[in-house]
């Protein structure tokens, strides 16, 4: 242990006349020179990875939010079709079926489509000006269900078919199930991409750390000579990697956030075009809520932390080899 400063005084003492240390000499260079770590490539890798991870997370959040909106809309509506049948009066069946629905608990609004409205629904396929009197066109009744109430569909079906045998009730369950599985698949794919991105980040950082340690091996050996422990040495390398990780995270995450910030404007340019409409249908308004931006910021910090962790793990393994 050093005994400097004990009762013996300094090892050599040249009296009071001594030169001042030049400023440059006392500048205290970093233990690990910054230039010795190929930082730019690593910052680029972390930035790209963070950008991809942010885009994935943001898209998953948008799809999930849109799907939840569709589901709540579709789930609050049921549709009934009354088909024309020989020997039965379609108008009377529609009125009776609508009445039966109105008396069903949980249904708040019933709207039977008139003959003209039904014709308008078919206009995109059959064109206008066509008389549909001669065609066996079914009539549609749309009912809104009170949010939060559970509708007894079996009772409704039996009541409706008693008054209108050709009527069929559809609560869109198949659609909802399909959307639910589509949303689940999107989230699953997103998590898969995130896992791959994080794995690629860890591998890149480990290689970069190993390269930096190999380039700085003489420094590590000298630090061992002067009694520096592995923790001390690792911390000096770690500072560089944490800074590089944060730089990459801020660049990648920031670019993705800007992208989402401007996405509404971009979507507005494309609105009215088939592509724009498809995207609007899939992703809704295209705007991330504030909590979404918070999630992206947390993710960028998490990737910087993963960079530091991967670097630390590799540092200790390499220090074991060097000693």
């Amino acid at each position: 242990m050093s005994r400097a400063g004990d009762e013996h005084g300094p090892l050599v003492d040249l009296g009071t006349e001594r030169p001042q240390v030049p400023a440059r000499a006392r500048n205290m260079s970093p233990i690990v020179p910054r230039a010795s770590i190929s930082g730019r490539a690593l910052v680029a890798v972390v930035a790209i990875m963070t950008f991809l991870a942010s885009i994935t997370t943001g898209t998953v959040l948008l799809v999930s939010a849109s799907a939840a909106e569709w589901q709540s809309e579709v789930a609050s509506e049921i549709t009934m079709q009354v088909r024309p049948q020989t020997g039965r009066d379609l108008e009377r069946d529609v009125t009776a079926a609508a009445e039966a629905m109105r008396t069903q608990p949980g249904i708040v609004q019933v709207k039977p489509f008139t003959k003209d409205e039904s014709a308008r629904l078919l206009e995109p396929w059959l064109g206008s000006g066509l008389s549909i009197d001669q065609l066996p066109v079914p009539r549609v009744i749309v009912a809104r269900v009170q949010p939060g109430s559970t509708l007894d569909l079996a009772v409704l079906r039996s009541r409706v078919t008693q008054v209108a045998p050709s009527a069929s009730v559809d609560d869109h369950r198949a659609w909802i199930e399909r959307m639910r599985s589509m949303t689940g698949a999107t989230v699953f794919a997103g998590i898969g991409i995130l896992v791959l991105v994080i794995a690629a980040t860890i591998i890149s950082v480990s290689f970069a750390t190993r390269g930096a340690m190999a380039a700085n091996r003489p420094i590590v050996e000298v630090l061992h000579f002067v009694g520096a422990g592995d923790r001390y040495i690792a911390n000096h390398f770690l500072r560089h990697f944490l800074r590089l990780g944060l730089e990459g995270g801020v660049i990648g995450g920031g670019a993705a956030m800007l992208g989402f910030g401007f996405s509404e404007s971009i979507a507005a340019w494309f609105s009215g075009t088939p592509v724009g409409d498809q995207f609007a249908a899939l992703l809704g308004t295209f705007s991330l809520p504030p909590s979404g931006y918070l999630a992206l910021a947390v993710q960028a910090v998490a990737i910087a932390a993963i960079t530091a962790w991967a670097s630390r793990r590799t540092l200790f393994a390499t220090l074991d080899d060097i000693d």
Binding site: M1, S2, R3, A4, G5, H8, P10, L11, V12, D13, L14, R18, P19, V21, P22, R24, A25, R26, N27, M28, S29, I31, P33, S36, P218, I219, E221, V222, L223, H224, F225, V226, G227, A228, G229, D230, R231, Y232, D323
Partner: protein, 219 residues
């Protein structure tokens, strides 16, 4: 302070280059380690510095069996030992001043607490005008003096020096020897590995002679 008992060392599957070494290095002692080139002087210094582990035998340093030490304990123990190697091992991105102050920095001391000591020592070894120079522009002799200053600055309990006057003129060699003697007077045990007879003749001290892997001690 240092105790070797039947220590042997071989590299890989090669022959034993150090055989049955048994000796004591008492605290406050001064000794020269000598022998022909290739006799194993540097290997013995590396055993003493814990950068090599013996193939057999017992090495006891500062009262502890080194085979039982963990990595952190080895690092702590190295803070009690100063070493000067033949290839100097200075850090090229640091100034002479920073290289010499490195042991204090690793110990976590404030720069203001050791600045005076570092400046005085650098002046003593003739590097007062080269404090802000980087090692690549120093001459061989200047690098050697900087390496010596780094080894002695924290006044270690044990100083190991491998050919410490190999790259300096006789006058400066004598000055450096005086530094080692002064350090020894202040309580450090000193081992200087050299085959410079002139240097050894300047100071009456114990001589440890390595020959064909075996050690002979002349008190």
């Amino acid at each position: 302070m240092v105790r070797f008992e039947n220590v042997g060392l071989r590299y890989g599957l090669g022959p034993e280059i150090l055989r049955d070494l048994s000796f004591l290095i008492p605290a406050h002692s001064f000794q020269f380690l000598t022998g022909p080139s290739g006799a194993g002087k540097t290997s013995l210094l590396r055993l003493l510095f814990l950068s090599l582990r013996p193939t057999r035998g017992l090495v006891n340093l500062f009262g502890q069996d080194v085979s039982l030490l963990g990595k952190d304990q080895v690092a702590n123990m190295r803070q009690k030992i100063g070493i000067v190697l033949q290839d100097f091992r200075l850090l090229d991105h640091m100034t002479t001043y920073e290289n010499v102050a490195l042991p204090f920095r690793v110990m976590g001391r404030e720069e203001s607490s050791y600045r005076r000591e570092v400046i005085d020592l650098l002046r003593w070894v003739g590097l007062g005008e080269r404090m802000d120079a980087l090692p690549p522009i120093l001459s061989g002799g200047e690098k050697q003096r900087a390496a010596i200053a780094r080894a002695v600055i924290s006044r270690p309990q044990l100083l190991l020096a491998d050919e410490p006057t190999g790259s300096v003129d006789p006058t400066l060699g004598r000055r450096l020897l005086r530094l080692f003697i002064e350090l020894n007077r202040l309580g450090t045990a000193v081992i200087i590995a050299t085959h410079d007879i002139t240097l050894m003749d300047q100071y009456e001290a114990r001589r440890m002679v390595l020959h064909q892997g075996r050690l002979h001690i002349y008190e």
